[in-house]
């Protein structure tokens, strides 16, 4: 099933790139359809896991990665359906989705018994909110990469097949900005629910756990980026670059922090 999902994502990405070359509408539709099928299949995997273990499927980094990939894929579908001429985002996001799923497969599942401390109502909400924000930040990241490519090519007057494939600079900039403004409240709520949960378990809202600290850093980074956009007029390339850096912080927070520092976050 998981291999089928990967295969569908690969097909979706290939179709999208094929569409760039041949501009055949059928390929564009095929890319979107296989992307939707992939997300449906992945939803099935998550639901199956939920039924088998009867716990919310995000109690380990392994499954959180799968959720993360799911969120990004779902977002990419929404974007390409809502905004006209943006299906190329499928071609750009599938590599990241596939990498996430491959890491999911390679990573050893957490074998330790699920600690009862996670079995609270608020915990799944905390995880869902955080992962939604990560998914949105990932979309912003992908849109920023696309922006930088499109901008560079336009500027150097390299009007090639990609020019038509990629959306306009305006849409890409708008997309990177909007996904970020929606993602930030989710991150904020994720941090707050996390604090509420910590209070219930440990009796204190904030314990300076490495992950907590890091999420605060990320939060400030995005606030800084938004501030730059709104008050300092960062737009275009500058905004895109900072958005990329911010997302790299997210990725490090998601995967890296736990390997370097020890904390009570499972992942």
């Amino acid at each position: 099933m998981i291999l089928g999902t990967i295969l569908l994502y690969i097909i979706a990405g290939a179709m999208s790139i094929g569409y760039a070359f041949y501009r055949n509408k059928k390929l564009e539709v095929a890319a979107l359809v296989s992307m939707i099928l992939a997300v449906i299949l992945q939803t099935g995997i998550l639901l199956l896991f939920y039924r088998r273990s009867d716990v919310f499927p995000v109690f380990s980094l392994k499954y959180a990665l799968l959720m993360f990939a799911w969120a990004l894929a779902f977002g990419a579908i929404l974007v390409s359906v809502i905004f006209k001429g943006t299906t190329s985002i499928i071609g750009f996001s599938t590599p990241f989705i596939i990498i996430l799923i491959i890491v999911f497969i390679v990573l050893k599942g957490s074998t330790k018994e699920l600690s009862p401390i996670f079995n609270t109502d608020i915990f799944p909400i905390h995880v869902m909110l955080s992962i939604t924000s990560y998914g949105l930040f990932a979309l912003s990241f992908v849109a920023s990469i696309m922006y930088i490519l499109q901008e560079t090519w336009l500027k150097h007057k390299r009007i090639i097949w990609t020019t038509k494939w990629l959306p306009s600079l305006f849409i890409l900039d708008d997309l990177a900005y909007k996904t970020l403004t929606i993602g930030l409240p989710f991150l904020t709520l994720g941090i707050i629910t996390g604090a509420l949960w910590a209070d219930r378990i440990y009796g204190s809202y904030w314990n300076w756990d490495p992950k907590e600290t890091w999420s605060l850093i990320i939060w400030f980074a995005y606030i800084f980026l938004l501030h730059g956009r709104i008050s300092l007029g960062w737009r275009g390339k500058k905004f895109a670059w900072v958005s990329i850096v911010c997302f790299l912080l997210v990725v490090f927070g998601f995967i890296g922090v736990n390997f370097i520092f020890k904390g009570y976050h499972n992942f």
Binding site: L154, I159, S168, L169, I171, K237
Partner: protein
């Protein structure tokens, strides 16, 4: 029965000749009428654009029909018939169908892939069918041609690449700004290409057009013509703060927009995108400004580079489209064969039956006292011979039909048996 496409176009005839034969909509019905007066022609369509004049016809004898059509052309166009024929191309059957499909799909156009020809072909068909000049064959042919054209446009990249400098400018603007609604265009100087580009941008949705020229009177005149507003030349740098797209086509011998001045403007605009199109020669915008964030600068060579690259893409797409066309031509010819198959078989059988009846009558008359049984024997024998003779050829035609070569064979059959 033959399908015929006779005509001349930009490749075969000079413009002076095409001008004489470029008929208006009112002139076409009488031509159609004349064509149908020729006894050979049963269906007719006339397609007349500034690049081509073509006559499509269903006829019995191609040679006579071509002769008649040439005569009509020479009369209506007031051209010597002899000199006319050297410019004509004549396509029959498969070639005619292929030609019509290629024309409708814009593969035969001067600018390959241009979109107008399909509309012109549709109009030509409308006029012909309105004047009852078309029948089942041309109706089908034209409908297939329109659907092939649509298919070519949908499944190849032929209509995707723009090939004029103005439309490339619009396309680039769209890739920078998304929609052009709410965007302001500044036109510096005049010139056909610059005005064209300004018009295109406005048609594509740009909100305001500001015209600026060394002499204010010129600017005002141009502004009236393009439905914009004129400003004084020394307002240039103020305008650069406001506008989104600048088309520069001035005849100054130095840079009007310099790197130093732009540095300040870019900052004050907070790097809001600004798209420069410099079609003046020598260039009037300092090229180095394109390194500023948010500034996109294309000069005439850049734009021409894009158009010629796009033209190559179109040609590639055109050869790809050939595949669709061939497929559809085969399908059409199959249908045509089917159409003429049944009547041919019927008339073949009729002919044999007539011969049989006549021979039977003669044979019976040679008996002194033919009994009923004698008649029956002769009748059965003659019927048996004919059925056996005809069985194989008819089965064979029906089989051949599936191989799509029926048209040729039917013609041969008709010739051999004089039916």
């Amino acid at each position: 029965m033959k399908l015929l496409a006779v005509g001349l176009n930009h490749k075969t005839a000079p413009v002076e000749l095409r001008e004489k034969l470029s008929f208006t909509e009112d002139q076409i019905p009488p031509i159609l009428k004349e064509m149908l007066l020729l006894s050979e022609i049963t269906e007719a369509i006339v397609l007349s654009t500034c690049n081509r004049i073509e006559f499509y016809a269903v006829c019995e004898d191609a040679g006579k029909a071509v002769d008649g059509i040439t005569a009509i052309m020479s009369r209506f166009g007031d051209i010597d018939k002899k000199s006319l024929s050297s410019y004509l191309y004549i396509h029959e059957d498969r070639d005619a169908v292929t030609h019509v499909f290629r024309v409708a799909s814009s593969l035969d156009s001067m600018v390959i892939g241009e979109a107008q020809i399909l509309g012109q072909a549709k109009d030509a068909y409308k006029i012909a069918s309105y004047n009852s000049a078309t029948g089942p064959i041309l109706n089908r042919l034209m409908h297939r041609a329109f659907s092939v054209a649509k298919k070519v446009r949908t499944f190849t990249t032929i209509g995707l690449y723009t090939v004029s400098v103005s439309s490339v400018a619009v396309e680039l603007a769209k890739k920078i700004f998304g929609r052009l609604g709410g965007k302001n265009v500044l036109l510096m100087g005049a010139g056909e290409m610059a005005e064209d580009a300004a018009k295109y941008l406005k048609d594509a949705g740009a909100t305001r057009l500001i015209v600026l020229s060394r002499t204010f009177v010129h600017a005002s005149e141009l502004a009236v013509r393009l439905k914009g507003s004129a400003v004084e030349f020394d307002e240039l740098y103020d305008q650069l703060m406001e506008v989104d797209i600048v088309i520069c086509s001035t005849s100054a011998d130095h840079y009007l927009i310099t790197n130093d001045r732009m540095a300040k403007i870019v900052k004050a605009r907070q790097h809001k995108p600004l798209f420069f199109i410099d079609i003046s020669v020598p260039r009037n915008i300092e090229p180095s400004i394109s390194s500023f964030e948010g500034i996109f600068l294309f000069d005439i060579d850049d734009l021409k580079g894009v158009t010629s690259q796009n033209m190559r893409e179109r040609e590639k797409a055109a050869s790809e489209a050939g595949r669709f066309i061939e497929e559809e031509v085969n399908r059409f010819l199959n249908w045509l064969g089917e159409l003429s198959l049944v009547p041919t078989i019927v008339s073949l059988k009729d002919k044999f039956e007539a011969i049989r009846q006549q021979e039977l009558k003669e044979a019976v008359s040679k008996f002194e006292n033919p009994t009923k049984k004698d008649r029956e024997i002769l009748d059965a024998m003659s019927r048996g011979i004919i059925n056996k003779i005809l069985h194989e050829p008819i089965t064979e035609i029906k089989n051949v039909h599936t191989r799509g070569e029926v048209l040729k064979d039917i013609t041969l059959l008709k010739k051999i048996f004089k039916i």
